[in-house]
Symmetry: C2
Subunit: 233 residues, 2 copies
């Protein structure tokens, strides 16, 4: 009598995944109800639920109450990226971290920034520019806009000693975060700051955070040439 080992939710997930990939269920098709799949596999519905949630998280299927589960019509490669605090990232590589405040001042919020922060109207905003160093060489130049209404505490911080990056991450929770990656050619100013040639290709990581609907900060991180962003996995 071969001892029937209980199916784990991962096995269920993988079998369903296989059925999708081998076209037993094609994109757009509706899968059986959880309960029926559970019967089929001889497991509990909660196990199927767990498997399905994973497939849903991975972007392979879409689930709707009453509507059932269907195979996504537009398969995507879904990846997660971790963006650590810059100091941590540099130290983890075994490099010496350095930080240098370039300037700090209040400005009337430019339209582009107000739009990205979803600010209803232009207000006064704190702009902080700083340079992160790795082994005494420029690593990331960050151009940051901070909403003082949302984060009054930042006004008391000595940003020449502590980076806004770090202070915010450690002190200001956010409920929403938008990220944007793109490449630009270094302007003369940016190039000078990063000590590279004008026109060099730079990866820019643009991040906007909110707490509820209140915008916290928008930062454009101009990474030095050679910088790479990897998926975690």
């Amino acid at each position: 009598m071969t001892r029937e080992p209980r199916l784990s939710w991962k096995e269920v997930r993988d079998q369903i995944k296989t059925s999708i990939l081998d076209r037993t269920y094609s994109p757009g098709d509706k899968l059986p109800r959880d309960a029926d799949i559970a019967d089929q596999f001889g497991c509990a519905r909660s196990t199927v639920q767990r498997a399905m949630r994973d497939l849903s998280d991975a972007g392979l299927v879409e689930r709707k109450r009453k509507g059932g589960t269907r195979v996504r019509v537009d398969p995507v490669t879904r990846a997660t990226v971790d963006i650590p605090i810059t100091r941590r990232e540099v130290e983890k590589r075994g490099s010496v971290y350095g930080y240098h405040l370039i300037d700090r001042g209040f400005f009337k919020t430019p339209p582009e920034i107000a739009g990205k922060l979803e600010l209803p109207q232009a207000t006064e905003i704190l702009r902080v520019r700083a340079l992160h160093l790795a082994d005494h060489k420029p690593h990331i130049y960050e151009d940051r806009w901070i909403c003082p209404d949302t984060v009054p505490g930042i006004l008391e911080v000595d940003l020449s000693r502590e980076s806004a990056n770090e202070w915010l991450v450690m002190n200001k929770p956010y409920t929403r975060c938008d990220l944007r990656f793109y490449a630009i050619s270094a302007t003369e100013d940016t190039a000078a700051t990063l000590d590279i040639k004008t026109g060099s290709a730079l990866l820019v990581i643009e991040r906007t955070t909110w707490i509820g609907t209140a915008p916290i900060t928008l930062v454009k991180a101009y990474t030095a040439p050679g910088y790479e962003l990897l998926t975690s996995n």
Copy 2:
């Protein structure tokens, strides 16, 4: 008697998250056991478990069997990005999609490629170069290396009609996918292909996929200037 509404796992999660962010539990601290937290909230352990898994997925805490749950010492911004099939992406924007095979041939695997594919030794590999168009303008230039040992089926595909991108996604499941984002200045060749100026900054999306330990493909997607990668949320 105020009817005590049951706590949802999301409420539990948010409360724990708040406790972490307000320093009730500092980075590195050990949180109480799930069972104790459950008692504290008056809910079942499974609810705490659900909440904790979410926090763990989000990168806020680390969990280990027997070791318990502790607040991560290096908070990260964790984001998920969706990389759709190029055709879908173009069509979703309402643009007309076009595809053009540039060339296809067998080569001795260059060391850089072999390394990234984790191939033990240099073998023959299929290289496919193609251009994706949006509204008849170059959109993405892809330079792809495919392991024919892992994907013999690709040899039968008419790549001048169907893109390898699409065929692989639809026909070849992968179990592991590594992504890498970086910026480069367009070489003369790349610039000519994308019909842009030499030296323009390009965002490159490099993707490597495996099935088990068998490498499937490595593709470098050179995106046209202005291309942006956004987080899903």
